[in-house]
Symmetry: C2
Amino acid sequence: MENIRNYIQDHKERFLEELFGLIRIPSISSESEKKPEMIRAAEYWKKLLLDAGADHAEMMPTEGNPVVYGEKLADPSAPTVLVYGHYDVMPVDPVDLWKTPPFEPEVREGKIFARGADDDKGQAFMQAKAFEYLVKTGTLPCNVKFMIEGEEEVGSPSIAKWCKEKKDMLKADIILVSDTSMIAEDIPSITTGLRGLCYMEVEVTGPNRDLHSGLFGGAVANPANVLAKMIASLTDEKHRITIPGFYEDVLAVREEERNMLGRAPFDLQAYRKALDIHDVCGEEGYSTLERTGIRPSLDVNGIWSGYTGEGAKTVIPSKAYAKISMRLVPNQDHHKIAELFQKHFISLAPPYVRVKVTALHGGQAYVSPIDMVAYRAAEKAYEDTWNRKPVPVRSGGSIPIISTFEQVLGIKSILMGFGLESDAIHSPNENFPLAQLYRGIETIVHFYGHFAHMSRQA
Amino acid sequence: MENIRNYIQDHKERFLEELFGLIRIPSISSESEKKPEMIRAAEYWKKLLLDAGADHAEMMPTEGNPVVYGEKLADPSAPTVLVYGHYDVMPVDPVDLWKTPPFEPEVREGKIFARGADDDKGQAFMQAKAFEYLVKTGTLPCNVKFMIEGEEEVGSPSIAKWCKEKKDMLKADIILVSDTSMIAEDIPSITTGLRGLCYMEVEVTGPNRDLHSGLFGGAVANPANVLAKMIASLTDEKHRITIPGFYEDVLAVREEERNMLGRAPFDLQAYRKALDIHDVCGEEGYSTLERTGIRPSLDVNGIWSGYTGEGAKTVIPSKAYAKISMRLVPNQDHHKIAELFQKHFISLAPPYVRVKVTALHGGQAYVSPIDMVAYRAAEKAYEDTWNRKPVPVRSGGSIPIISTFEQVLGIKSILMGFGLESDAIHSPNENFPLAQLYRGIETIVHFYGHFAHMSRQA
């Protein structure tokens, strides 16, 4: 039997060609004019799954973009793995900071540069290729189902309802996801926690039209100045969030778990250097890894008002806007946080402006237990590839749908991600190292073997 | 002799045609790609002046856009009036709020709607037509010089140097400017004070690239949040500006002058209603007219950072920007204020961000004495047209060049503006009532007569 390393070696050119074809489709889910691209990306995935050896694959409609579903049911007595991934990507602006066009993938210094190279086209593609190997070599030890959605980057608004309707079809023992990262290329890790997300948009209205700042300046509230004050007051000098009730449901992490987290390798010097910052900045009393792993946060993701072009325009803008999101930790409910935010933000508004607050999307935090079979199988799989036991880590990122899956389908997820911090996901020059792509495929193949074996033992 | 009202009646269609031709040229001085339009607008003005009866007119180069200069020197013993205006206009964004395209003038409900309809194409055009009437009817009682520049909306960076070089050519007894507004269509007023301007741009840099707000949120300073805090701290709860030394050179206005200002007609209820605001907002201890007339102010004219498109993007932006300007009162020096701002803003920056502060432009405040001949002549001219004595008012706006003229040329200005607050200058749907256009031309004609007569008496 051909082993997986040889198989990758023999087929790597075709693999890249197939992945590049997927990447070239600009499937940005937040831009409504990209609808036709979403369909193209979904069709591409359907073909990928059929070519890889699925018995059946189809585009299934949802209220939003379609989900691509495919399956190969080998043996009723074998465990079933449900692979989740997404074919949509983030916007590409500021596009002038990209060295090569975001949707024209290019390999430089052993890395694929393109939007989606990692998140999640590159990573989900590894799942398809590991599956292909197992089918083509007749060694698939599990039943496999794929669901690849097209709205992850906008908070997966349609998939919960779709999952409820397809609950029987989606029955599985574990959900397998490659959409997270490892500590470093030589330090494998498995994400065991994800933060939740509550994403809001605010609009502050002052006068009913843009005003001349000379004729009115000093006498009429400027909504941009007011918005700055409102945002400024959302955090205090200790970098804690000031929204009343915000921390109410945050569970204190036990001392021993904090100690374990503290043992994860982390080089502050290198971290600062990589970001070119003089210093880190966050909630008093917590380390950098704790700040992103076990504590909530609040960030302005976008702000805009008035004249933003070249030169000067002496205007008091009529409106000022911001996108503000909060990362949440287990036990914080994103619906409740959205309500608290809305109530507080409206209460901050002085009488001379009007404020509108909209919840754009949200998702619950998630914790993955390290004693479940899938975790132990994944641990062994990483060890097979890296000769090193992976570290369990709490990631600061959110995959809101993961907690929804648990809620709706009653299935836990195992997050086997192979991204690196340097992949610049959501940023210009997103990239994915070829070495991670190949090792990822290999590790997933090992996972299937261990998972089937250990499930039978359990 | 044909009187001015009849002359306007007989020629009004041609007047509109000529003004519309000028308006249709999108001469936005802050947009560098509009350079060819600036030249077209200047050429248009040269022709306007020659057609109106100037002996001579030409486009004179400066370091920036050309100045159109024209003259008719009637009589060495008569006083000389130097007319100032500008052919450049403000940008038009947000363009989707315009009911009709900004450079396609349209008359609706007796008003011309277009960018520049008032500021300053419409207003400067009145000067050309009053001049035309006096020339064509052989009744011009003064020598007249015109200088129409193309950089007023970006702070007139080139004209001071040009004036220094052309000081002899520009010799005059008074500078006549139509670029301000009246209290209301039935309440004529003359602007006797203008605020100065100090316009800054700031850039706050956090990490060297946009970051994923999940992976980094809470651990790395977000420049948009930091900028909001910095801006928030620039004013206190009493709406006073907190920059150290900012008020140092502000002269307290005498009680009697404040009382006089307080007598200017002002309807707070109507003001609030026109702007659709629940309340005004400004420095504690001052009325609305005082806040714009005799007190300095600070406004965010633009702010931008991160993702500002449709939907959600979970990003920590690398950079955040703002345009911040301050209106200044007499005796405040805009160069000094720019330095104070810069020093203070940099001192506000926490160690985890980098800050860049640039002065975009500035101008000094100006006060026009109400006992000079030109003021008294203008007073009579308004009374001729409106049957009502005009009120002297301190405007909150800035025409930075006015104080420069006094400094460089040693000539005072008289600000005979006919705009209305409802003209929405610098805003979408800028407009100018035809009635003001015609009355303005008439009033300027009267001014020339009174000014020549009173100058001879003085």
